[in-house]
Subunit: 191 residues, 2 copies
DNA sequence: CATATACTAGATAGAGCGCTCTAGTAAAGA
DNA sequence: TCTTTACTAGAGCGCTCTATCTAGTATATG
């Protein structure tokens, strides 16, 4: 069964969100996942770096699907973006401002220290941008504008996570949501 | 002379930008600063945490003054904000996408693990927001709108740093600059 | 039944961590 | 001159880090 491996991946993703890459120890991971230490190097022979890379790519994909699900469930794209920011604010509140994007923390840590992991975070952001661009294109925006709004959404969300987690307030994320929605509305109006 | 202490603070700030808080070792700091290890605990008796806190508050103040200087040198507030984003993009390019905001990296790392440091990052962000609000109020925005634009600026900039450092592109920061300027223009127009 | 493969289990190595400790030097004030 | 204070200097402690290593168990296949 792939049960142990999945448990290690899920636990690591959760710990990355709270403690970052360098702040998360392998022994803490196996302890919290209830997995033997040997299994870690069985499933991830290249050690922490391989585990980190798989967690980054996996989490990136999960969040992308979450975003697409939220937008698909909304009556229109503007409401979808609104729901996304409101959901993020709610999640932060519920988890005592701990559980936000696991990519950003690791991305900043590894950007200048670990090229394979930096590449993984870059790939995740690139695919988020593409996914967003596709969605906004489908909503009627021309190609360059769609990409700009997608980038605006992601940078606003990530930056808001930083401020909200630090200040323990949802104000930054609420403001970021309004700004992003406004940018989207403006772009749609002139399309 | 306060020379050694300053050198330790400056070196630490630089290393925090690149390696983060947990990723920066005290021995690396004194080695790079050319300072004896004993001096570190002479100037910072409470160790790494005290050093970290002073670096956060000091860097926060420096960046705030930098922002105010840039805006003061510009012919108007819109140009000032534009210059700020362009300067940030230029700095990233020149430093191989290493030197960005030292607060964000540390903020995400310590938000759920170290309360005194989390508080220090929160204080920095709060004072940035206040400084921005003051500037935008002076430019003619009513109070709630001024604060919203200030928060938008900071979240956009921080989020753009994350994406730019990860992808090694200035595109996110350019887009964030345009979006922020647009938000500011809209707010000014309806003021 | 035999054997290969997948996985569990954890002791241990070697390096590095934050921090403490003792000792020594430089310069200023009594 | 003597003493105090500020600072330099770095060895070493206890601990944790990632990673390796050996050994054992379960399961499936010949």
């Amino acid at each position: 069964m792939g049960n142990t491996k999945e448990r290690i991946l899920d636990t690591t993703a959760e710990m990355f969100r709270r403690y970052g890459y360098t702040g998360t120890g392998l022994k803490q991971i196996v302890a919290q996942a209830g997995a033997p230490f040997g299994s870690l190097y069985h499933f991830f022979p290249r050690g922490k770096e391989q585990l980190g890379e798989e967690v980054i790519r996996r989490s990136g994909l999960m969040y992308q699907q979450l975003f697409e699900t939220i937008v698909a469930a909304a009556p229109d794209i503007v409401t979808g973006v609104q729901d996304l920011f409101e959901g993020a604010a709610e999640l932060l509140r519920q988890t005592d401002y701990a559980d936000a994007c696991p990519i950003a923390t690791v991305a900043l840590e590894v950007a200048s220290t670990n090229e394979p992991l930096r590449q993984a975070t870059a790939d995740v952001f690139a695919s988020w941008i593409e996914a967003g661009t596709t969605l906004f294109t489908r909503a009627g925006l021309p190609d360059p504008a769609a990409r700009e709004v997608a980038i605006t959404l992601i940078t606003s969300l990530e930056g808001a996570f930083v401020l909200s987690r630090a200040t323990r307030t949802t104000e930054p994320i609420e403001v970021a949501g309004r700004t992003t929605v406004e940018a989207l509305r403006t772009a749609l109006a002139s399309a």
